[in-house]
């Protein structure tokens, strides 16, 4: 039986994780994500799980990665400054192909910035924040319902692709309260186990190696150094390094179509809005107010890997308008893929775009 609740976004995130079987949370208090940790602190012990408040965000993500190697579904939640601290170990997770879920309830930056105000300023950081080349998956919820569903989905993607998956929420969605329908269960994709006797970092045809869980007799060596298929350090072989990094990138990029999650409204429109996260709500309001089929809308839930093929579905598009709570981080990504003008509609400070602001942008031709 489904049930209906009236929840805060951060509560829905924690509950989505629990429904997905998350059994380890390592975190550190930071506004505006703290409610995720607080909810997990109450709920996890009752589900035989582990909640631990670590000494900082570096340790939080480290404990999550350690827990993941024992086979547990593990997550952390943070915001801007904590997210910055996590970057090195996020690269470690990408390099060692450790499934983990990182929730970033974004707030205004740079630095301490606006702890209680929403922003989307970390969209590029989650994609490129750690050093070196790699690929990750990032989801952007626009409602309390999606805080639940996309968090659960993040665990499946992390386990399927053996990659850090980000839930790039924002303060607006994290702290708003609205109606949510709780399903009986959420879809579950398990981690592919390593076949005994095969090399631990030798990928299958899907470019993803089986997971050699600690404590199962694999005797696997896991290192952040460039490693061969045995998992052994091999840091000075240029070809081996290139092949490893290319595989880490390709296993995500080649699955872009499969990972992609987006919605298209009025594909024949000439004027097309593109949004993710909280600004989705303003565009929806505008579309609702206008009742105008000449307005198109691409609403993206998986921002990374970026589903550029979705842009091609707007064959008559003459302009893409991109409201973001940053200075056009994803607008720039869209520009790379289209020939028509891309109008970035940045808004900083924490307030959502108003429908009137979007209308003004639409009318300014």
């Amino acid at each position: 039986m489904t049930r209906i609740e009236f929840w805060q976004g951060n509560t829905a995130c924690a509950e989505g994780a629990l429904a997905a079987g998350c059994r380890f949370f390592g975190g550190y208090p930071i506004t505006p994500s703290t409610e995720v940790a607080e909810h997990m602190a109450v709920k996890l012990p009752k589900k035989n799980g582990i909640f631990i408040q670590m000494e900082d965000e570096i340790a939080s993500i480290a404990s999550v990665i350690g827990a993941s190697w024992t086979g547990a579904r593990a997550m952390t939640a943070t915001s801007g400054p904590g997210f910055s601290l996590m970057m090195e170990n996020i690269g470690f997770a990408a390099m060692t192909e450790t499934p983990c879920v990182i929730v970033n309830v974004q707030r205004g930056g740079p630095s301490t910035g606006q702890p209680t105000m929403g922003a989307q300023g970390d969209m590029m950081q989650c994609r490129f924040g750690s050093h070196g080349d790699y690929s990750i998956i990032a989801l952007c919820p626009a409602s309390v319902q999606e805080m639940y569903e996309l968090t659960a989905k993040a665990f499946n993607l992390a386990d399927e692709y053996r990659v850090p998956v980000f839930l790039m929420a924002d303060e607006v969605v994290g702290h708003m309260r609205e109606k949510i329908v709780i399903p009986d269960s959420v879809p579950y994709v398990s981690r592919k186990a390593l076949v005994k006797g095969t090399l631990p970092f030798k990928a299958d045809s899907d470019l993803i190696p089986g997971f050699p869980q600690f404590g199962k007799g694999y005797g696997v060596h896991v290192t952040g150094l460039t490693h061969d298929e045995r998992g052994y350090p091999c840091a000075t072989n240029p070809k081996l390094h290139e092949a490893l990094v290319m595989r880490l990138v390709d296993k995500i990029e080649s699955a872009r179509h499969k990972i992609a999650d987006y919605e298209i409204l009025n594909p024949d429109a000439e004027e097309v809005f593109i949004a993710y996260g909280a600004p989705v709500r303003t565009v929806q309001q505008l579309m609702h107010d206008q009742q105008d089929k000449t307005l198109g809308f691409l609403r993206i839930r998986t921002v990374w890997p970026f589903p550029e093929f979705a842009l091609k579905e707007f064959k008559n598009a003459r302009r893409f308008l991109v409201p973001e709570m940053n200075l056009g981080q994803i607008a720039r990504e869209i520009e790379r893929h289209v020939q028509v003008p891309v109008v970035s509609l940045p808004k900083l400070g924490g307030d959502l775009h108003t429908p009137a602001e979007l209308l003004t942008a639409l009318e300014a031709r």
Partner: protein, 262 residues
């Protein structure tokens, strides 16, 4: 099983320099683990970055070679998520006391049931010999060319103050004592910390008037003072030369140990 079975033979030769003390510490640790009759499939080795942190790569069990300074935080996740696993951390003075200092004291405070073995060579060996938080006053390194001007950490005092359940210090000279100490550490529930001072001929010895590997090992031998003697001298108000360091079992206690089985 012989303790040699704990090594990944296909990983040899190792990267340690000729005369390095790290191998001695790994041997002592594996001998102690062998005594515990732990199985490979229920033992996990975790490390950070540095010479010491390469140790897990040579051991034929599950091993996690992580980022600089963070080994204890990773190990905390491993142990809490699966308390059935025996978790041993190899670290060095730079990894543990500089970049990882916060994780070290919080590991001790939390008293998670892991054993941390620090190979203290008093210098950054892997990067070519820079001063570390345990480089003694006046000692030379590539970043203390006029002699180290900062006082070093006493890692064991730090662990004791922060709450570790078991703390001892030995050197690469004291092979039997070290093995016993590691064994005691592995047996003690909670956070066990064993500091093993090691010679580093390549980065430390050659800059600090130890012409032969044996010279530095001999220095470690002659400058270690048993805890009992140290306490007696202290009680009698006698002078203890500042270049002497205490060896032996420094703490064994029973602070509560967290850990909920998943």
């Amino acid at each position: 099983m012989s303790f040699e079975d704990w090594y990944r033979q296909d990983r040899l030769p190792h990267i340690f320099c000729a005369g390095c003390g790290n191998g001695t510490i790994i041997n002592c640790t594996l001998a102690a683990i062998e005594q515990m009759a732990w199985k490979k499939e229920e033992t996990v080795f975790v490390s950070g970055i540095g010479c010491s942190s390469r140790a897990p790569g040579y051991i034929a069990a599950d091993s996690l070679h992580t980022t600089h300074g963070r080994a204890i935080a990773f190990a905390t996740g491993v142990k809490l998520a699966n308390p059935e696993l025996n978790v041993v951390v190899f670290t060095g003075d730079g990894d543990l006391a500089a970049i990882g200092g916060n994780h070290f004291i919080h590991g001790c405070r939390r008293n998670i049931d892991i054993t941390v073995i620090c190979m203290n060579n008093q210098i950054y060996g892997m990067t070519g010999g820079q001063g570390s938080p345990t480089t003694p006053l006046g000692c030379f390194s590539s970043t203390t060319p006029f002699g180290c001007a900062e006082a070093p950490f006493d890692l064991c005092e730090l662990a004791i103050a922060a709450g570790a359940n078991y703390v001892s210090r030995w050197t690469s000279y004291h092979v039997k004592e070290l093995e016993k100490a590691v064994y005691a550490g592995l047996q003690t529930p909670g956070f066990s910390f064993i500091e093993a001072l090691v010679q580093c001929p390549t980065a430390f010895g050659r800059r600090n008037k130890f012409k032969q590997v044996g010279d530095q090992v001999d220095y470690l031998r002659t400058h270690s003072m048993l805890k009992a003697k140290h306490d007696r001298l202290l009680e009698q108000g006698e002078h203890i030369p500042p270049d002497m360091f205490v060896v032996g079992e420094l703490v064994r206690r029973n602070r509560p140990v967290p850990g909920v089985k998943i």
